[in-house]
Amino acid sequence: MNLFRKIKQLFSWQQPPTRSAGMAMQAANPKMAQKILGMLEKTQEEELTCDEVFALLDQFAEMTARGENVSELMPLVELHLEICGDCREEYESLMNVIQHPA
């Protein structure tokens, strides 16, 4: 493949190993590359932090439970939940709780 050869010529891949090369190498399998690209695809210049999302999470969960259009009303919370596994897990647990009132 031409592009591949060209790029190999442009950049020297066989650099002496460094600590950082060791880390970077871990990206060299398709699953990892796919995960990283998936994250980058969602990345926006402005995102809410975990604390900002936590402050809105009870309201967001109730709105979702009522069937309101959260994608339109709180798109930044929704985006954060797509990106952040910790917050998504907490959101899903909260939904479980409020949909099964004890």
């Binding site: 493949m1 090369a21 880390m23 060299a28 980058l40 109730e62 910790d86 897990e89 647990s93 709780v97």
Partner: protein, 230 residues
């Protein structure tokens, strides 16, 4: 008449249990003495009843671990609720706000227990010098697709090693490769989850900007990986 009174008192009981309004919860928790004790005890019962749902699929409610976790979570949640009572803005049910705190407490504790002994990924160079990108064993893409993928993977590798600080690389690899929760990575790196999210956001932005500057657009190159194999 007696039936009506009975109905009323049942209703009052229910109200005093779980069906307080937001204002009643706040007033009772701010009161002194019996009122407050009753509210705290009701809240505690509410948290304990909701925990099996909060942890469903994660922890068996009949396990001994669940029992010890539940006690701890209920206690910590009540303390947090009292501490942050003034920050409740009434944009949800008070009980949803409490559940939110309990859920974070419970999952946080569960994560700590599960990840306590797992170290951050090794930053050292591997000795097997496996420089070429690795395809997964169960995948057999065509040579063209493989070449294309290898190209993309090598470029991503290069950008990661050129663009990111050591801290950013470590965070990225812990979250992506090790699938470690952000909170645990933060704790092991001596910071907090919010700061770790910001670090990861900055990491993603740097990679994305650099890739786009090189004409690589994540949505387009993702298609290379989506192509069916074999």
């Amino acid at each position: 008449m007696a039936g009506f009174q009975k109905q009323c008192s049942v209703k009052d009981n229910l109200l005093s249990m779980n069906q307080r309004t937001n204002e009643q919860w706040l007033a009772d928790l701010r009161a002194k003495g019996d009122m407050r004790d009753a509210a705290l005890s009701d809240l505690r019962a509410l948290i304990l009843r909701s925990l099996p749902y909060a942890l469903s699929g994660k922890l068996n409610p009949n396990s001994p671990e669940f029992e010890s976790l539940a006690e701890e979570v209920a206690q910590e949640t009540l303390l947090k609720v009292l501490e942050h009572l003034d920050t409740f803005e009434g944009r949800s049910l008070f009980t949803t706000w409490v559940h939110k705190i309990a859920v974070r407490q419970a999952l946080g504790e569960l994560r700590r227990r599960r990840w306590r002994d797992v170290p951050l990924p090794e930053m050292e160079m591997n000795d097997d010098s496996d420089i070429m990108p690795r395809e997964l064993a169960d995948e057999q893409p065509s040579p063209e697709i493989m070449a294309e993928r290898n190209d993309v993977m090598m470029r991503i590798q290069r950008i990661i090693s050129e663009e990111l600080t050591e801290k950013q690389r470590l965070a990225l690899m812990s979250v992506v490769m090790q699938e470690m929760p952000l909170e645990e990575v933060a704790q092991k790196m001596g910071t907090n989850r919010n700061a770790m999210y910001k670090l990861m956001h900055d990491t993603r932005l740097r990679l994305k900007r650099r890739m786009e500057a090189e004409g690589m657009f994540p949505d387009e190159i993702l298609a290379v990986f989506a192509k069916s194999v074999g």
